[in-house]
């Protein structure tokens, strides 16, 4: 269960807004997190508390393929991003690194800045505790649900490599 305060953002928040491109040499999520959203909201890093939630409009994460964008959000302590829609590369990247992302236009419409949300990821349920409303996000397709359950793409790949290794030892096909 995820519980946190909402930081609301507009439509088309691009990857250069989430983390400046020039920081692409950095890889430490904690350091990246300190620069999260600095181009459009310089105080964001100071304002958020670990466990907070980003709620945004459509096309969140458009632009670059740089994975430092979801890493920066994760590093900043954000536990979930809810948006009306996501840019496809950002969506993949978030799933791959196990940053929960939910597509739910109704929840975005029905949530204000600083609202307190409680999210049940397994059921896609978003409970707005401040306004006492409940929204349900579209479920993940089976394949993506499998990746999420595995804990992201790295864990999924580890499991697969282990199975290949096991197979070799047992001389199976």
């Amino acid at each position: 269960m995820i519980k946190g305060r909402v930081h609301k953002f507009a439509d088309n928040i691009d990857t250069d807004a989430i983390i400046p491109a020039t920081l692409a040499n950095l890889t430490d999520p904690d350091i990246l997190g300190r620069h999260c959203m600095e181009n459009i909201d310089p105080d964001f890093g100071k304002r958020i508390r670990s466990g907070d939630i980003i709620v945004a409009g459509s096309n969140f994460g458009c632009g670059s393929s740089r994975e430092i964008a979801p890493w920066a959000i994760k590093g900043a302590g954000i536990t979930c991003v809810i948006a009306k829609s996501f840019a496809r590369i950002f969506f993949r990247n978030a799933i791959n690194i196990a940053l929960p992302v939910l597509e739910c236009p109704a929840a975005v419409e029905g949530t204000a800045d600083h609202d307190l949300l409680e999210i049940d990821l397994s059921r896609g349920e978003i409970h707005n505790l401040s306004q006492d409303t409940v929204f349900t996000a579209a479920p993940y397709p089976d394949f993506i649900a499998e990746l999420v359950t595995a804990g992201g793409l790295v864990a999924y790949a580890r499991e697969r490599l282990k199975n290949i290794e096991k197979c070799k030892m047992q001389n199976c096909q």
Binding site: N12, D14, D16, A17, P20, A21, T22, A24, N25, L26, T27, N39, I40, S58, N59, C62, G63, S64, S65, R66, E67, I68, P70, W71, S85, A87, R88, I89, R92, N93, N96, I97, P141, D142, F143, G152, L153, V154, A157, R158, R160, L161, K162
Partner: protein, 419 residues
């Protein structure tokens, strides 16, 4: 099936695929750069992988922050060179390199019909060759390096039909900017753009690369051209392996079709802070500029430099303007040198940089300051993209940028050269 569906079916070992299906496809090339490669290397190790699936199909290109801009960039390149050495994969560094999306087609490493995944969102550039090429994050790239395959949701396609013939000074950049302005920055999210029509048939390869490059600015997974005689002429002599030419079926189903008449199209300029803010250059009003950039994976090819040189020949860059020309690769640089364009640029008061992404992502070689305005042939004018979040970035084609560099404000090339 559409062109994208044909290519994906071919790489999934299937007779046909449907939009919305989740499939696993074999990849012909996996690419990364110094901007995103280090996380891929870390994730490759975290996965427990030891060897890449096929060293001949994995390439690392140093282009974003090279020649090294600072110690962090140097360390990045060292880490990637070390990985490349141990894996025996292709590695392109300063002196033999270029901007990855200019370099790989030149080297014949991406070919028609390929599925290519790259750790850079502008990987879609190779769609100009009829390759299904798409950008992914570092962890996806690590997975593809390890297994030689990736999962994809089969995208629906949007058919774009360009009728008529473009006027002088109108090129691929203007077609794609006006397209993005019409369909929006998420107009093709989770979809593929298929470029067709008589205006496309007569478009040279460099203009096609420009258009495919910016498919991502409409949110597209890829932007595809059906290979034709121009494509084959381009890859001849470059390709070192077999390739397959796929064509869309005449009865292919598209999510929608959008038609354009390009005959009346003016050169475009995208106002800050979105590529979708494109308007005809004559409507831009008086915009004085501090910097003009000609280059990048969008417009750093030989024809782009030829056009810019045609405008700048015998003229002077405005004294207030820093005009920065960045050839996209060593090959482009050398050809431009032989044709005399480099001399033209230097005599006009422009500076010529070695191939690099440089100023486009605000890395180095022309970082823009607060309150400054930059007109650029690059692909993104997001807040903070080229430096300060208080800077304004305008996007246009090489002729408009060169002409504006001379006048110190955004102008139609006709103003400089005369109709």
């Amino acid at each position: 099936m559409t062109l994208a569906e044909k290519i994906l079916a071919g790489h999934a070992g299937r007779k046909s695929v449907q939009p919305g299906e989740f499939i696993t496809v074999k990849v012909d090339l996996v690419m990364s750069t110094d901007a995103t490669g280090v996380i891929s290397v870390q994730q490759f190790r975290n996965m427990g992988a030891e060897k890449v699936f096929d060293p001949a199909k994995v390439v690392l290109v140093m282009d974003h922050f090279v020649p090294s801009r600072n110690l962090e960039s140097t360390e990045t390149v060292k880490t990637l060179r070390d990985f490349a050495d141990r894996q025996g994969i292709l590695f392109y560094d300063v002196g033999r390199s270029g901007i990855v999306h200019v370099l790989l087609p030149e080297q014949g490493l991406v070919l028609p019909g390929d599925v290519v995944v790259g750790g850079d969102s502008h990987t879609c550039t190779y769609g100009a060759l009829g390759a299904l090429a798409t950008g992914m994050g570092s962890t996806d790239i690590a997975f593809a390096m390890a297994f030689g395959e990736t999962w994809m949701k089969v995208p629906a396609s949007i058919k774009l039909v360009y009728r008529g013939q473009p006027a002088r000074w109108v090129g691929g950049k203007d077609l794609i900017l006006s397209t993005i302005a019409q369909i929006g920055v998420e107009g093709a999210n989770y979809q593929v753009l298929e470029f067709t029509g008589e205006a496309i048939e007569t478009l040279d390869m460099d203009d096609r690369f420009t258009m495919a490059n910016m498919a991502i600015e409409a949110g597209a997974k890829a932007g595809l051209f059906t290979p034709d005689a121009r494509t084959v002429a381009y890859v001849q002599g470059r390709a070192k392996r077999q390739y397959t030419i796929y064509q869309p079926d005449p009865d292919a189903a598209y999510a929608r079709t959008v038609e354009f008449d390009v005959s009346s199209l003016e050169p475009q300029v995208a106002l800050p802070h979105s590529p979708a803010n494109a308007i005809p250059v004559s409507h831009a009003g008086t915009v004085e500029i501090d910097q003009a950039v000609i280059g990048s994976c969008t417009n750093g090819r030989l024809n782009d430099l030829r056009t810019a040189a045609k405008v700048l020949a015998g003229r002077q860059v405005h004294p207030r303007v820093r005009c920065i020309v960045v050839p996209g690769s060593q090959e482009v640089y050398l050809m431009a040198l032989r044709e005399g364009h480099i001399e033209t640029f230097i005599k006009s008061g422009a500076v010529v940089s070695t191939p690099t992404c440089g100023p486009c992502p605000g890395g180095h070689m022309g970082v823009v300051g607060a309150g400054e305005k930059c007109l650029s042939t690059t692909n993104r004018n997001f807040v903070g993209r080229m430096g300060s979040p208080q800077a304004e970035i305008y996007l246009a084609n090489p002729a408009v940028v060169a002409a504006s560099a001379v006048y110190g404000r955004i102008v139609h090339p006709d103003e400089v050269i005369g109709k």
